[in-house]
Each structure stands twice: as structure tokens, then as C-alpha cells.
Subunit: 330 residues, 2 copies
Amino acid sequence: MQYTAVKLVKRPGLTITPDIFEAVTLETPELEDGQVLIRQTHMSLDPAMKGWMTEDRNSYIPPVELGEIMRSGGCGEVVESRHDTLKVGDRVWGMLGWTEYAVSDGQGLQTLPPGISEEAVLCVLTLPGMTAYQGLVEIGKPKAGETLVVSGAAGSVGSMVGQIGKAEGLRVVGTAGTDDKCRWLEDELGFDKAINYKSDSMQQQLIEATPDGVDLYFENTGGPVQHAVFNRMNAHGRIIVCGMIADYNTDQPSPGPNWINVIKRRLTIQGFAMPDHWDNIPKMTAALTAYYQAGKLKYRAHKLEGLTSAIEGINLLFTGGNTGKLMVVL
Amino acid sequence: MQYTAVKLVKRPGLTITPDIFEAVTLETPELEDGQVLIRQTHMSLDPAMKGWMTEDRNSYIPPVELGEIMRSGGCGEVVESRHDTLKVGDRVWGMLGWTEYAVSDGQGLQTLPPGISEEAVLCVLTLPGMTAYQGLVEIGKPKAGETLVVSGAAGSVGSMVGQIGKAEGLRVVGTAGTDDKCRWLEDELGFDKAINYKSDSMQQQLIEATPDGVDLYFENTGGPVQHAVFNRMNAHGRIIVCGMIADYNTDQPSPGPNWINVIKRRLTIQGFAMPDHWDNIPKMTAALTAYYQAGKLKYRAHKLEGLTSAIEGINLLFTGGNTGKLMVVL
């Protein structure tokens, strides 16, 4: 059976351009013992992909090699099986890649919880939710009553961070790039305050929204929000650095804050990446599933149609053009 | 009995100028029950004092109020006592201030270990050694075989950090501001490499001195060394931020590094200040005394003579003009 996959064939420049990808037609192979064939139905697009495409071998995960199918997480259905436990019809999640079909020996595949849609899995239970949980809860160690600021709050990770923060009893302030996103955060997700970071009064709004200062900052963006929040940090504040999307499409990354306040306020700034924390998946999945089933984790999915729509569509993440978790429905 | 003390009477500008101090003549009071009179013999001068003089009430310790005797640690001898346990002739250490005599109820005073000189106490067992131990060992959690870089390595804290690092089995690279200081670090203190940060080839020397990258960076200075070391950090590297002396005498603090590498290398940047860690003093004192008595912690004292020499002399810390731990012998 013929299917389409998308390979990475060039390294990206400052922005991701269509010519770095090549759509190819492949033939599904005969399965060997222990293998399954998966038809991907929902493929995740994430800001981290920009990093995976670049040549940097000092990052938390090796780059995608040129000529390889582009890396991504996604949900699919087992359509053929010579595997002991995975059966035809099973719904699974894993790093399937930019492809309509994938062969797997089952390693790294998770079975979807019953009664939870593929959309919810991609928006809540997999990378966005796990990243939010690991960063905020495991690294940030929030205490009820503390104030959390999250940048990129309307993004796939940021929206989970804020909602987990509310569930953990924090005052939650988010920043986002449009008034519509801010309304969604306040009205639908229950943020205490959402601030449009493009507003001239961003700094003043931040000061007013954090009358007791900031104990936890979950950083998804970098840019001017970073400096404004840094100046509001309380003693023993924790900054969790998850993303710097404002700097992914530039060759002149913006300077960080001077470290004098790191001493004066005894701050901790900690970066993390999920491949270091896969062993925490069972705990995170249990916690996220419970929050989700209690109605505490809402999401908005931004769906593209068809595999090759990813080639242009991924740039929505860097222009802020997506509204909700970006994914491709196949 | 008349004695001299030095009060802080103005806040400093960019640099510490003599007019912010006032030397006054005071009379020793009659002691009350429970008090001792201490004649200070060795008074410590430290970079942190610049911060204590400024108005910043968000720092780790309140500012010295105008009209108060300037704050400092020092060693002295009990010359009069109406205290239950402290006797005339006892040698003590504590926050005595810029003064020839001080009255105390004993709170916060430590008795000097027998057989250890006042110089060694100020250079090793009190703030420099404790700051080095708390930062490097308790916060940095070094593992034998790792590579440590310490900036301001010839300073009172930096020289202890490097020697504790060697004692803990690390590869130790230091930066300092003169070739003489670098020779001292390599020849006397056993650093694996010391680099003059003013050298044009500083970056190249750093790369050569850290063939396996940098696991731990103990930051005392800020400035160009910070960026050069930051770019050498290994995955899961720890940066301990103790001082930023390059920025203490400027109103335009230099920008910090961009945080993208905080994510890619999963770095932790942590600030600390000793007032948060006084409860760790017994453990630190025991560890430092053992290292010192084993000959592993050498020091160089830079001695000024007479209390009022501090007024001009403190600036040696900010020009790099001191060679060794700066103190005033009274």
C-alpha cells in the first residue's frame, strides 16, 4: 500500500521554508514478527521541532538527520499486527514522525486511555501536559497561594501550565499575543489575569496583576516579557525555562537579564527537556488524567488537514497564528 | 575608654567615596549583666559590603541604616565580661562592625578554635570558606572528575572554591585579573589552570583548559568570563551565582546570557547568600577545619593597618588591587 511521508532534506535557516522538506511516496513493508503497522490519525506540531531540525549536537536530543522522516509525536491506530500484545484496532501514541503510516516494534508506544479522544491525548496527556506538569510541579515545586506567571500562556504548554497552576491553588497570570487569546485564558481557562504582551502598558499591567510579586515564572517565550517578570521575582523565586520561541527565528538571540538579582533574590533558573524525564510518565499520566477527567484541563485544538499541510503550517507556531494546540489530522 | 568607630552617613554612588563615612570617637559604656566588651583585632572587608551600603530593601539582608556603624565581620578578644560563659581573654568572631570596640550579649558570636590564627579564621573558616563550601558543595553537588570553573579565583571566596574543588576531586580552572595571581593559583593552590581574563586569548585558553566542557561554574564576577564559560557548559551543568563584582560599580549592569542554552543543556543557575544558611554553620565549620588542618586550604591575607584605613582601602576589592583576603588589623 502506498503512503506519503515527509523527509527533512535541508537544515532550516532563520525561518522554516518549504524547500527543507520533501514529500515522498513509500510502500508499506511486509511486517516481521513482533511488528505492527500504524495508520497515523493525529500528528502533533510543536515549537521544539525547529531545534530538532538544526545541526546542534549539543542539545537534549540528537538532530533529525538529513534524509530522515521528520520527527513528531502522534496518535494512530494499529491496522496490521504481528505483535504479541498490540492488536488491530488498538489506539496508540508515540513518536510516529511526519508520515501516514509507521512500522513499530511497540517500543515507546503508549496505548490511549479508553474514552479519551486523540485530540485530548495530543492536547493534554502527551507532550503539552507532561511538559507543563514536569516543569511546574516537579521542578517548580509550587506552594498553594504563590503567584505564577506563564509566558506563551495560550500555547499548548502554557495553557496547561496555567490550568495546572490553578488546580494547585496558585494565583495565575499569563501573557499572550492577542486580546482574543487573553479573553480565552481568563474566561474559559480561569486565569486570574491575562496580559497582551504587545500592549504598551504590559509592564504596568504585570505589576498590577502581581501585587505580591512573582514566585514562579514558567518561561515559554523569552523576549520583553522575560525581563519584565524577572524584575518582579520574589526572594527564593523559581524560574522554569521551557521555551524561548521569541528567539527561535533569529540569529541574534536577545540578551538575558543580568544575574545580580539572581543573588539578591536567591533565584533558581532551571532548564529542562522531556527526554530526561520519560521515567516520570506513569506518574504524570495519572495526575493529568485525573485533572482532565475532573474538568480542570481544557484545550483548544488548531487542526490542519492532510500530512503535507504541516510543511507550511508549522510556521503558525512562530508567527503566533495558531489558536490552540497545532496538529494535523490525517 | 575612648575608641574610634566608622559610621555610614551617605549612600554610595557608583563608587565608594570617603565622604560616605564618618569616623567618630565614642566612649565604652558600663557593661550590663550578660554583656561583654570586645576589642576587635582583625576586621574583614568584603565585596558584599557595597550592597549592604545601598538602599535596596529587596536584597537578602537589610541595608545598613544611615548613621549606623558600618557592618562587617571580624575577630576580637573579650576584654571585659559580665557574661556567664564568655571570659576575659576569649577569642571570638562575629559581626562586630567598623569599630575598635564592640559590646555584645554573646548572640551570634563564635569562639575561635584553639590553635587557629585570627587571619586563618577570617580567610578560611568564616565567610570566605563558608560561602565557598555552601555554594560549591551544598548547592553545586560536585562529583569527582567533573570540571569546575571559578571566576574571581584569586579572591577570598574564589580561592577557597578552587581548593575545595581540588579536595573534592574536580578538575579546577580559575580566572583572575593578573598573571601574578594566576601563578599563585597554579603554583601554590594547585589549580589545574588559571587564566588571566584580561588576555586577548581568554576564550581560547578557556576552551583548551576545559577539554571535556564545564560541569560547574562558580560565578564571582560577571563580565566577559561569564559569557565565555556559559558557552562551555555541559548538559546538566550547574551555575552557582555568588557575586557579580564586575557590575557592582556601574549603573548599567551588563546583559546576561540568553536562556536558549539553559534549555538545550538543561542548566541550573542558582543564586545564594549566606544569611539563608546560618543553620549549616556547624557542618561547614567542621568540614573546613578538617580541610584546613590537612593543609588543603591555603590563603593570602592583604592587611591594612588601623580602622580608618578601611575607608579608602575597601576600594581595593573593586579595582582588583588586593592580593588575598582583604582585612584591617586593628
